[in-house]
Amino acid sequence: MTAPARPILEVHEVTKQFGGVIAVNGASFDVRQGSVTGLIGPNGSGKTTLFQMISGVDRPDRGTITFRGHSLAGKQPHEINRLGLGRTFQITRLFGQMTALENVMVASRTAARGDAEQRARELLEFVGLTALAGEYATNLSYGQQKLLEFVRVLAPDPDLILLDEPFAGVNPAMEERLVAHMRDLLAQGKTFFITDHEIRLIMALCERLIVLDHGEVIADGTPDQVRQDEKVIEAYFGR
C-alpha cells in the first residue's frame, strides 16, 4: 500500500464575510499533491470566494492558507503565482485586445521574448490553438477562450492549478479535449483543484470531493462517499 501524497495546499478555519453575508465560514481542508480534487456546492456556497482567497485576490478575515508550506497571508496574487499556483476564472478573463499568443507569453516566466514565444507556441499546439495564435482573444469562441485561459495558466509551469468552472459553457467535444489535457498534465505530476457544476464530469475526474454549503465544508471524501452523504443530498435536493 502506498502512503498518501502529502498536502500541497492546506486551508485551515478560513472565514470570509462581505457585509452581512458570510461567504465562507471556518472552512478547513487540504489538497494532496498529484491529485484531482473537486470543490462542489450549490450556487452561492462560497466556491469562488475560496478560489479568490487561495489565489490572493481576496484576503480571508480569519484562518490560514498554506501552499507547499508557505503561508499565503499578505501575499499578492503575483507572488502566489510565482510560488507555483495558477488559476482560471469562472467567466474567462483573457486580455481581449492581445493575441492568443501574447496572452500565453505574458504569463511565461522566461525573461527572453524568444523563449517565451516558443513556450507559448508549444502550449497553443498542445490544445490545438496554433492556427489562432495571431488572433485577438476577444475574437475567439467561448470554448476556445476557455482552452486559451487553460494554457495561459500552464505557461509559468505551476504545480497546483485551480480551475473555476472549466466546463461551463463548453461543448462536449471541447469538454473531452480539456479532460484529456488534464489527464496528460496529471501524468506529469500536476495537481488540480476544480470547481464545477458538471457533477457527472467532476465525479468521473476527481479522486476526492469537498462539498461546500453556505460557506461551510459539509462533506469531504471520495465521490462515492460524497454521493451517499445525507448532508450533500439535502444541500442539493432539499429535504
Binding site: 503575483h78 495558477g86 478573463r93 505574458v106 525573461a111 517565451a116
Partner: protein, 314 residues
C-alpha cells in the same frame, strides 16, 4: 516593396531631412517643428503610462511644468551663484519630474479608472499652486525670466532628439515582454496579477519614465522660451493635446502619438492662422469627431484595411 524594407528607408530619409532642416528651413518652420517634437515627446510620454497600462492621466502637464521650473531655476542663479549648463538643467528636470511621479504615483496608481484620472487632475493643480506660492524661487504668478538665449537651432535638435528617444523607448517597451505586461494591466489588472505580473512595480516604473520624458520636454521648453509662468507650463490644455494626439494616432502603439503630434500640431496652427476667433472651438469639434469616428486611431484604421501590418512594432 515590403514594409520591412520600406519603413527603415522612409525613416532614414525623414531623419535626414529633419537633421538638415536648420540649413534650409525658415525660422517659422523651425519653431513649428520644435512644437511638433515637443508634442510628439509629450504624447509618447503620456502613451507610455496611459496608452499601454490604461491609467488615463489628466495631470501630465504637472511633469512638464515641474520640469520647466526645475530647468528654469537651475538656468538662473536662484539656487547657486552660477547657472547650470543647459544639458545638466534639463536632465535634472527629468529626474525631478520622475521623483514627483514616484511621490504622486505611489498612492494615485492604487486608484483605477476615473478615480485615477481625477486624482491626477487634482494633484497637477496642487503642484501648480505650490509652484505659484513658492514665489522667492519661482517668481510666483509673475513667472520666471531666464537668461535670454538665442538657442532656436540647438533647442530644435535637442527636442528632436528627445522625441526620437521617446519613440525608441516606446518601441523597446512595445516589443519586449514588459510591453505585454503593461498591456495586460490595461486589459484586466486582476487577471494580470493572477498570471504573475507585478502590476504595482510595472505601473510605477512606467509612470516615472513617462514623467521624466515630460519633465525633460518642459526643461527644454523653458530653455528655449527664456520665460515661463505657471499658467502656461501647467496648462491642462497641454495634457488634453497629448491625449488627443495619442488617441488620434492610436493608443498603445509606437507611432500613433507621433502621427497625432504631426497632424494635430499642423492642423491647430492652420486653424489658428485662418480662424483666429474660432480656432479653439474648431479644434474641440475636431476632437469630438476623432473620438466618434476614429476610436482606435489612425494606426488601427490602417491595420484594419490591411495597409499596415498588425504588429506591436507599428
Amino acid at each position: 516593396m515590403r514594409w520591412g524594407v520600406t519603413a527603415p528607408v522612409l525613416l532614414a530619409l525623414g531623419v535626414l531631412m529633419l537633421a538638415t532642416l536648420p540649413l534650409w528651413g525658415t525660422g517659422y518652420v523651425l519653431s513649428l517643428l520644435f512644437l511638433t517634437f515637443m508634442y510628439a515627446a509629450m504624447a509618447s510620454s503620456w502613451n507610455l503610462i496611459s496608452g499601454y497600462t490604461g491609467y488615463v492621466s489628466f495631470g501630465h502637464a504637472a511633469f512638464f511644468g515641474i520640469g520647466a521650473y526645475t530647468s528654469g531655476i537651475l538656468l538662473t542663479n536662484k539656487l547657486a551663484h552660477v547657472s547650470a549648463p543647459w544639458p545638466v538643467a534639463v536632465l535634472v528636470a527629468g529626474v525631478v519630474a520622475a521623483l514627483l511621479a514616484l511621490v504622486l504615483g505611489y498612492p494615485a496608481l492604487r486608484l483605477r479608472g476615473p478615480y485615477f484620472a481625477i486624482a491626477m487632475l487634482g494633484l497637477a493643480e496642487a503642484v501648480r499652486v505650490a509652484v505659484t506660492l513658492a514665489e522667492p524661487l519661482t517668481g510666483g504668478g509673475k513667472g520666471l525670466s531666464l537668461p535670454p538665449a538665442l538657442v532656436d537651432v540647438p533647442a530644435y535638435y535637442a527636442m528632436g532628439l528627445l522625441a526620437m528617444v521617446a519613440v525608441a523607448l516606446t518601441h523597446v517597451v512595445a516589443t519586449s515582454p514588459v510591453g505585454l505586461r503593461l498591456l495586460s494591466i490595461r486589459e484586466d489588472e486582476v487577471a494580470a496579477e493572477v498570471v504573475g505580473v507585478r502590476t504595482t512595480l510595472h505601473k510605477l516604473v512606467t509612470f516615472c519614465v513617462s514623467a521624466s520624458i515630460a519633465g525633460i520636454a518642459g526643461g527644454l521648453y523653458a530653455w528655449k522660451q527664456s520665460y515661463i509662468d505657471p499658467t502656461t507650463v501647467f496648462a491642462a490644455g497641454l495634457t488634453v493635446r497629448a491625449i488627443t494626439m495619442t488617441m488620434f494616432g492610436g493608443q498603445g502603439t509606437v507611432w500613433g502619438p507621433v502621427i497625432g503630434a504631426v497632424v494635430l500640431t499642423y492642423t491647430g496652427e492652420q486653424l489658428w492662422a485662418r480662424f483666429p476667433f474660432l480656432h479653439t472651438a474648431l479644434f474641440g469639434g475636431m476632437i469630438i469627431l476623432i473620438l466618434l469616428f476614429l476610436p482606435g486611431g489612425v494606426i488601427a484604421l490602417l491595420q484594419e484595411r490591411g495597409w499596415l501590418p498588425r504588429s506591436r512594432r507599428v
